[in-house]
């Protein structure tokens, strides 16, 4: 039976398997750092506006310490975020192998996601407003079922993104 063939195939020592953790990953375009930082500026601005609106509405019953403390906490978080984006950027990267696609990111919490080609449901290239301004695209990879297992490679030049997309699509159609 086909099943047995497959199982006999699996007498492979784990150490002989191609390890994913030591591969050289492709880095993202360094412009993407700016995209991330600008989006943090937007978040900071929104948070500050939200806070001041809140204080404005609740007219004057808020102690001074809160009035100064909360915005400065926001600013500290913002600065930390900028630093983290800067330091964490070299950790971000993607990897295409013969059989799967991976994306890794995260300085404090490192995360590496790998999707085998024969489990990809569809692939899509997209960009948000800030990315559009910088001429960057992202490739999104979807699997079946919930959206938890999806993978998204940001910070790519549009040409590269479309190349990756068509590469993935060609691999996916081979498995159909």
């Amino acid at each position: 039976m086909q099943l047995n063939e497959e199982f006999s195939n699996q007498v492979v020592l784990p150490d002989l398997l191609p390890p994913i953790e030591v591969q050289e990953f492709e880095n993202l375009e360094s412009k993407y750092k700016l995209v991330k930082q600008i989006s943090s500026v937007f978040i900071l601005a929104l948070a500050l506006i939200g806070f001041f609106l809140f204080t404005y509405i609740s007219s004057g019953n808020i102690p001074m310490i809160v009035l100064i403390g909360v915005p400065s906490i926001f600013v500290i978080i913002f600065v930390l975020r900028l630093v983290l984006v800067f330091l964490g950027f070299p950790r971000k990267g993607y990897l295409l192998r013969e059989q799967d696609v991976s994306y890794r990111s995260g300085l404090l919490i490192y995360k590496l996601t790998t999707i085998p080609f024969n489990r990809i449901q569809h692939v899509e290239v997209s960009q948000n407003i800030i990315e559009k301004g910088f001429g960057l695209s992202r490739v999104k990879v979807f699997t079946a079922g919930g959206s938890v297992s999806d993978l998204s490679i940001p910070g790519l030049l549009p040409d590269k993104a479309h190349q990756i997309e068509s590469f993935l699509l060609s691999k996916v159609s081979k498995h159909e």
Binding site: I109, Y110, T114, S149
Partner: protein
């Protein structure tokens, strides 16, 4: 009984017209309720000659006409390996689903449908379309034939078809719940949750009553109020007992309604589950469509020696609600049979159990113990008594987290993965390696220092977490799982 011709375009059963009407009315109300509310709230906007009953009458008339047209234009049939639904009278719509894309076919019967002796049928594909693939009114024999055909006809079924028909009646009963089983299941449910909800709700009501009395008693005498507040501890104790009793009764009732006449039957390579007191549901579950099997037991369940099994299927993106089919009240041997059948007997039970590292405790306690304890810090300053509450929370959550860590492990035997977890309850999750869709490797700064990492194995029905294992073990397992998926050419969905 003659076999219905499935390839002929068929309308729904006429005697279930009322069901169609009710479902369509529900749909329209759900879509247009803001307008309805507007009409009711702003009565004066209407011309004086038109009254609310008139509006309702016209709406009902329109809906009846709509339902008639809906009924007349709704056809379904099977053509060339596709299941086709045609519907719509203004906007015509043809939905065609390739048979091999069908994940599951479920039959349901609510009270009204039972009175009219019709069934509704839902076809689930793990893709789009979602709820559109629902037929409200079908006769019993047609439902059976259609279900059987759709299920048996996944993809390359042509050559198996003849076997299937000859074996069709070979049904093996695996589990059947009697009334005493239902009683046991009801008692062993999680009453704490229901109890707490009732308690929170109840204490609010009591608070309101007290407020009420405080106002009222000013006018009369204080005696009643004194009695009331003196006995308030007693009152709360009584309320707690009342809450427990009510929650036990409520869960019992819920269990009976949901699992009445529960049967788990094996037919060929699939299970059929039937259950329900008012709403009868019937689920057909091919083995190959089960993505993950969970089974669990708790302290009370353990006393009765029963487990609850959940079959997890692929989730449709649009519905987002998990396709879980439960079988409560399983005995140990039931689970063994089911696992043996679902996973072809190659179980990793004897391979080494690799437990999560003790450091997992730090993370859990931080999130579940310290964080909730530290957040109300202002409370401790103003009301030092709360420190006792905070302290005991820390101790209790510490014990709970410790239990969680000690129960967290995984077993792996190349083709399959079992993960154990839980604190008060014990839960096991099992999934076949080749059904994995993607793998996440996670490592926090603290984990990296200790050479630890966590894995998340995603499949079409959700994910299995393996927290805090050695970094090299995690890497090995990840590479192994990927290798498995990439070399497998079996259908995983």
């Amino acid at each position: 009984m003659s076999k219905p011709d499935l390839t002929k375009p068929t309308r729904q059963e006429l005697r279930g017209f009322l069901v169609i009407l009710v479902f369509e009315v529900q749909k329209k109300i759900r879509a247009f309720w803001p307008i309805l509310i507007l009409i009711f709230a702003q009565k004066n906007l209407l011309p004086s000659s038109i009254t609310i009953p008139m509006v309702l009458g016209i709406l009902l008339l329109l809906l009846i006409v709509h339902a008639i047209l809906f009924y007349l234009n709704f056809y379904f049939y099977i053509d060339d390996n596709q299941f086709i639904i045609k519907k719509g009278y203004i906007r015509k719509k043809v939905l065609s689903i390739p048979l091999e894309r069908i994940q599951s076919v479920n039959t349901k019967q609510n009270l009204l449908q039972r009175l009219l002796n019709v069934y509704s049928l839902e076809v689930d594909t793990a893709g789009s379309a979602g709820k559109e693939l629902k037929i409200y009114s079908l006769s019993g024999s047609y439902t059976d034939h259609l279900t059987q055909f759709l299920q048996s006809h996944k993809g390359n079924a042509d050559d198996h078809k003849s076997d299937l028909i000859s074996n069709i009646n070979e049904e093996v009963e695996i589990l059947k719940l009697s009334h005493t089983d239902l009683l046991r299941i009801g008692i062993s449910q999680n009453h704490l949750k229901t109890g707490l909800i009732i308690l929170a709700f109840g204490s609010q009501i009591v608070g309101q009553i007290q407020d009420l009395f405080e106002e009222e008693t000013d006018a009369y005498s204080d005696s009643f109020q004194n009695i009331f507040s003196n006995s308030s501890i007693l009152f709360y104790a009584g309320l707690a007992i009342f809450a427990i009793v009510v929650s036990i009764l409520a869960t019992l009732l819920f269990t009976v309604v949901k699992y009445y006449d529960f049967k788990l039957i094996k037919i060929e390579q699939s299970y059929r589950i039937t259950a329900g007191l008012f709403n009868k549901r019937k689920v057909l579950l091919p083995f190959s469509k089960v993505q993950q099997l969970n089974w669990e037991t708790g302290p009370i369940k353990k006393m009765f020696g029963i487990f609850k099994i959940s079959f997890k299927q692929a989730v449709s993106k649009q519905i987002q609600q998990k396709q879980v089919v439960d079988a409560p009240g399983c005995l140990k041997q039931n689970i063994e049979i089911i696992r043996d059948e679902l996973f072809n007997g190659d179980l990793p039970d004897n391979s080494e159990k690799i437990y999560s590292h003790r450091r997992y405790f730090n993370l859990l306690w931080l999130l579940m113990g310290w964080l909730p304890a530290v957040i109300p810090i202002a409370l401790y300053i103003f009301e030092p008594l709360w420190i006792i509450a905070g302290g005991s929370w820390l101790i209790l959550s510490g014990l709970y987290c410790w239990k969680m860590v000690s129960k967290s492990y995984f077993q792996f035997n190349k083709s399959q993965l079992i993960v154990g977890k839980g604190a008060i309850n014990t839960v096991w999750q099992q999934s076949e390696s080749f059904k994995t869709q993607s793998v996440d490797f996670r490592q926090s700064f603290f984990q990296k220092r200790r050479g630890l990492a966590s894995l998340r194995v995603n499949n079409a029905s959700g994910h299995i977490d393996i927290p805090y294992i050695q970094e090299d073990v995690a890497n090995k397992l990840m590479n192994y799982l990927l290798y498995h998926v990439e070399t497998s050419n079996k259908k995983w969905m």
